[in-house]
Symmetry: C2
Subunit: 415 residues, 2 copies
DNA sequence: CTCTTTATTTCGAGGCTCGAAAAAAATAGT
DNA sequence: ACTATTTTTTTCGAGCCTCGAAATAAAGAG
């Protein structure tokens, strides 16, 4: 109730083990001395923890990495994560696309397959059959020294529930409440996490560019739909039930354009690719949006918008205003934070930037810093992939490779 | 950086002590056996912790409370917080109002003073002089057995920064960046917390009605301005820099009505008392809003609105729409949560409810539960007071009365 | 006045981190 | 070639912590 968790002596070891593994995740080769410096733990403790981790086969001593050659004193011996202790699988499910990859425990790619599948007409069974086939093939061709599969991480476009590892709703396929987690978990005998693709993007940014994405930032995916992954106070921010912050469905214009979610006036109904195309096609903003927009068409529209005034330029202007309006509201709730724009929409940033900035400007009326930092990443797929991989590996670090009874991670529960 | 806190063996004791104190805060009289049941700690541990707490004078055995009379076996002996171990002060600063109260460690009122002061014309020095006088008087008249002052908690209307215990901006007084915390801390030699009034309301609701306000909920204050206190995942949600989620300044209508914050189109510019009066007075929505609205006038307008159609009815309709629009966006970001409407606006809920519900309806397009729970609390002051008190006492429980080195609470840092 | 029941404390086992001391493994210097 | 120096890593004991089992305390029941 009001009383939270009770602490036990071995929680201490669990936490500090996690610290050691996190240090190793960040730096690949690290001596015990380095770990002492990074974590702040005492040398004795680091020694005890690393000894245990080596005994369990989770990390290895590596004589190759001659960290301190030609120095006086006993040389440091480098430690590294043992890539062969486990294998994880990631599955990205996006519009007409399934992408599965096998990684080792160090995060190196073992095997990979990309398949184009018509998701819009696919039933849950169709999707699961494709994913299952891909995973089976990859697992069958794994080299002999690869570790056993220990976790699957899915990033799907749509609304997901981390607790039940379920996809609640998705624009890319007709079925709802698909319990991917439960089904894959039963099939492969491992825990499965299902998360929103944008959450994964945020996760990836935090790991690849911690300089810019540390405590507080948002990754906004401008693509077929509009989603957001949010980090606040150094922790992923998830909704109460779903696992993503639905930036795209914040209200931009009451009773406005029809959104694919069935409601009116969402940001997405102005700023997504289908909204832009609907407008440039001269269709009514309340008309049913297209289910799929191909990149070529979208880019042609963008080029016409760049060429000069016209309905295309206006469409992008509206899109920028919608995004700006959402950011302005978001910034009121949580104060201004750095923004990463990801996906096709990031490729047309030149067409929407001015309107975004104009609406956001003066976000803090009382004189807080009004500067708006936006960086663009036109290709979302590598980020989603990397986010799935990182969360999956972090999950292993925390749960599977922690001694004693397992608790839940803050990020995603496991079936 | 990516590595968080390192755990030490005595962190365990600190956490479990906090658990025991939290149990006692919730129930006043509790035997050691009760504490065992509530916390899940072992009897031995509870014994060790309570023995220490008694030795330090933080809790007392109380023979009066005959919990288990006429039962077989050794009788339980009730434990209770020692009211005389500490005194805390709360200060509520609102429009033309300063309210200071002294509480003992059990949360009972020791002394109290309410003073009406013209805050709109008051300089920082004026405000501090008034608060200082009030506190000095109260402290001077304290009974002999009262504990020493150990913490001050301020709840102010406006934007605050918990980290620096500063009021960044407030509608009730002209000065900005007022370091209340620093100044009061120097004067009274105790730590001082400065928080937004709405955060305090949320805190109070969670303690007084945990049934309805547990993990996730929002308290929205509809008064002179519009603010929000938010609880997510059982933790107070604060912005990145400020200490309150500025619901009132989310964007409702781009380029819309003039808000007191200087921007246009904020929710507050439609739903606050000054917005409603501006509209019923027939003034342009871009005209400068009134600085103060007295309750009488506001109630008269409400009564005219209830009497039938007219500009008054329309003004409340607009207010409801603005609030509804904000909730719709909020619910997109964090999923629907229970709402507490607090302050004068809660007294006119009948006039705004329909419009709020209409706009919010269908918040989750994919079939999530659409029900909107709203409860009303027309008088905000007792809640603000109680919130300040609870956070202050919890602060003592966690920081001052925890053994070993002190860390920061998640909620508010201390000077 | 003894038995039963319930609450609380005591005691020992098994964790954990840490500082100090010891051991290990290299270079520097003669 | 051999010792001194330097740096890394391990070992050991002190001092925490929680917990289960056993002991003790304090009542009512018979």
């Amino acid at each position: 109730m009001l009383i939270d968790e009770i602490a036990r002596p071995d929680d201490v070891r669990r936490q500090n083990r996690r610290l050691v593994l996190a240090a190793l995740r960040g730096h690949d080769l690290l001596s015990r001395t380095d770990i002492v410096a990074q974590t702040g733990l005492s040398a004795s403790t680091v020694s005890a923890i690393t000894t245990a981790l080596i005994a369990e086969g989770i990390i290895n001593e590596s004589r190759d990495g001659d960290v301190t050659a030609n120095r006086r004193g006993r040389p440091q011996v480098a430690l590294t994560l043992n890539p062969e202790i486990a294998t994880i699988a990631t599955v990205e499910l996006a519009l007409n696309l399934a992408h599965t990859v096998l990684f080792d425990y160090k995060g190196q790619v073992i095997a990979e397959e990309i398949r184009r599948i018509p998701t819009l007409d696919a039933t849950t069974d169709d999707l699961l059959r494709s994913i299952g086939e891909m995973l089976d093939t990859l697992l069958a061709t794994m080299p002999a020294n690869a570790g056993k599969l220990m976790h699957i991480s899915m990033g799907v476009q749509g609304v997901t529930d981390a607790a039940s590892a379920t996809m609640l709703w998705s624009p890319i396929t007709p079925d709802i409440n698909v319990a991917f987690g439960e089904i894959l978990s039963a099939r492969y005998g491992v825990s499965v996490a299902v998360a929103n693709d944008c959450s994964m993007i945020a996760e990836a940014l935090r790991w690849t560019d911690p300089e810019h994405y540390a405590e507080d930032f948002a990754a906004i995916l401008l693509s077929h739909g509009i989603g957001m992954g949010l980090y606040l106070k150094g922790k992923p921010f998830l909704g109460v039930q779903s696992s993503g912050a639905e930036f795209g469905h914040m209200l931009h214009a009451p009773n406005g354009a029809l959104c694919r979610c069935g409601r009116h006036g969402c940001i997405e109904a102005y700023a997504s690719d289908y909204a832009i195309l609907r407008k440039t096609a001269g269709l009514d903003e309340k008309s049913q949006p297209a289910q799929d927009v191909d990149a070529m068409t979208f880019n042609n529209v963008a080029d016409r918008a760049r060429a000069g005034e016209g309905v295309e330029r206006e469409a992008f202007r509206k899109a920028g205003q919608a995004i700006g309006s959402g950011l302005r509201s978001l910034f009121s709730l949580i104060d201004p934070i750095p923004i990463a724009l990801v996906g096709p929409g990031a490729g047309v940033f030149d067409l929407i930037e001015a309107d975004i900035r104009e609406i956001v400007s003066g976000t803090t009326g009382w004189g807080g810093k009004p500067d708006l930092t936006i960086r663009c990443y036109p290709d979302e797929h590598p980020l989603i992939l990397q986010g799935c991989m990182m969360t999956s590996l972090l999950h292993l670090d925390t749960q599977l490779f922690a001694p004693g009874d397992l608790r839940e991670t803050p990020f995603r529960r496991v079936i």
